[in-house]
């Protein structure tokens, strides 16, 4: 579903963040990317989501290459791709349901949604997405009142409302306590399997990667170091991932 081919990203300051990176994530698969700070993990996700323009390479979403697209064509092509972040990034003054339903906006034009209204036909679907993440009973509550774990679940519901085929997750449990972190990872694993989602998730927690991922990819200095099933993590290679570049 998602194929990254020879992806290279060099920042304007000359730093090479990704060097010919290759990766494929199949539907129903949860792939975790491990790597130290500055290794290129977040740059990888941002290039895949086309928040950054890669220097070279291709990002295939189904049979569409996102690289080189811009404007309305990029917006349309990117609709099957959803993303969650380290912070939930909800609109705090809107209700939980409105935040979840905002994931449907990309499918609707017209004045109603342009003026702040929600498409009425999408509201039941958004409610079902909240049910899937176990927060339907908080639908009317203001998003700003939620705990970190609850807010992250709403962010996942918003992503689901988008009806994605690929879900990118950039350190989604970094600001959560261990129990909430396991909850979120279990949820991502279940959604990947039940909804045939291709999930690409950046993490720092080796134990979570080992427990929930189907495959684990190691990245260092913008290059892939390993790509193995989660039960076969090469411990020495993992240790080296987190050594400084100079070491």
């Amino acid at each position: 579903m998602l194929r990254v081919c020879d992806l290279t990203m060099r920042y304007p300051n000359g730093k090479l963040a990704l060097a010919g990176f290759n990766l494929a994530v199949a539907p129903g698969e949860l792939v975790v990317v491990l790597g130290g700070n500055g290794s290129g993990k977040t740059t990888l996700l941002r290039c895949v989501a086309r928040m950054l323009e890669p220097t070279a390479g291709a990002v295939w979403l189904g049979d569409v290459d996102l690289v080189g697209l811009a404007g309305e064509r990029l917006r349309q092509a990117r609709l099957p791709l959803a993303m969650i972040w380290q912070q939930a990034n909800l609109v705090r003054r809107r209700s939980v349901l409105a935040n979840a339903a905002s994931g449907t906006l990309g499918r609707h034009g017209g004045w109603r949604t342009a003026l702040g209204g929600l498409p009425p036909e999408e509201v039941p679907g958004a409610y079902r997405c909240l049910e899937q993440v176990g927060l339907a009973d908080l639908a009317a509550q203001r998003a700003g009142t939620l705990s970190g774990g609850q807010a992250q679940r709403v962010a996942i519901a918003r992503a689901l409302a988008q009806r994605p085929r690929v879900l990118l997750a950039d350190e989604p449990v970094a600001s959560l306590d261990p129990e909430a972190a396991h909850d979120i990872m279990r949820l991502l694993q279940r959604l990947a399997r039940e909804q045939e989602l291709a999930v690409l998730c950046v993490l720092h927690q080796l134990d979570l990667a080992d427990e929930y991922a189907d495959r684990v990819v190691g990245i260092r200095a913008g290059r892939m170091v390993f790509d193995v099933p989660s039960g076969e993590l090469p411990r020495e290679a993992v240790r080296r991932l987190y050594l400084s570049e100079a070491a």
């Binding site: 917006r75 990034n89 909800l90 990309g106 342009a114 702040g116 988008q162």
Partner: protein
């Protein structure tokens, strides 16, 4: 090594003397500025003493306030409030789109950014009394030129504060919403507006409070409301009526201020 790192006594002495001289120079400069201001405004404290008798005479003639005229004052009062309401609403309607263009983080282009900043700056730079004089010339006497003057002048303050509010908002939820595929207008109405609305409402209410005060003064240049009646009463030496207008003005200003503070506290 210690001797090299620490400044010598002589060095410290010179440094201390220099700092003292600098402070004295600043103090003298400050005194000179205040003295020149007093000279330019032709300050004559003795006139306050000789003028006290005249003031006391006016206050005596203004008492008691002429409450028999109370039934005639409600219309200019309503005019004053409505000038402020129209001025504030008009200001918001014009300031909001300008603020979006003038906020660095959401403006669609640099040229629109500079154009919007220019309009906001110009609206603020020209005082509301000057706007009122211009509109009195353009559309004649009455409350309408006052309301127009407040609308245009409000653009300056509202546009600037609205733009700063948008610039300081957390952009992460906006980026997240954009990535769902939401269009620019949807991101604005579903993300930006709900995030900044309480602050914008607070600023608007503060401006309304200011506009009530301004609308009183605008009457002096023929822009209607209590100010116009107050000036007429003073010109006709009807000081008991003047004191009534001043009481109504006081009540109006305090009421607007309290209401504005109350609603802003609820929104916070």
């Amino acid at each position: 090594m210690t001797a090299a790192a620490a400044p010598s006594l002589a060095q410290r002495g010179w440094g201390g003397a220099l700092a003292l001289a600098l402070r004295l120079t600043l103090l003298i400069a400050l005194v000179l500025i205040v003295v020149q201001a007093a000279l330019v405004v032709q300050a004559r404290p003795q006139d306050l003493i000789t003028g006290a008798k005249g003031m006391a005479d006016i206050i005596r003639r203004a008492m008691p306030p002429d409450f028999s005229e109370l039934n005639k004052i409600w219309w200019p009062t309503l005019e004053t409030v409505d000038i402020a309401i129209f001025g504030t609403v008009g200001g918001v309607v014009m300031a909001l789109p300008l603020a979006v263009l003038a906020a660095e983080n959401v403006t669609p282009s640099r040229s629109l950014y500079y154009a919007a900043r220019g309009i906001i700056g110009f609206a603020r730079a020209v005082p509301d009394l000057v706007w009122a004089l211009l509109f009195v010339t353009a559309v004649g006497l009455g409350p309408f030129p006052g309301a127009l003057a407040l609308s245009v002048h409000s653009i300056g303050m509202l546009g600037r504060l609205f733009a700063e509010t948008i610039e300081h908002m957390d952009m992460a939820p906006i980026d997240a919403l954009s990535l769902t595929g939401a269009r620019r207008m949807q991101v604005f109405s579903h993300g930006i507006v709900p995030s900044v609305l309480p602050t914008l409402a607070g600023v608007t209410l503060y401006r309304f409070d200011e506009n009530i005060r301004s609308s009183l003064v605008l009457g002096f240049v023929g822009a209607g409301g209590i100010g116009f009646e107050l000036l007429s009463a003073m010109s006709l030496f009807q000081y008991r009526l003047v004191s009534l207008y001043l009481i109504v003005t006081f009540v109006l200003v305090i009421a607007a201020e309290r209401l504005s503070a109350l609603v802003r506290a609820r929104l916070a």
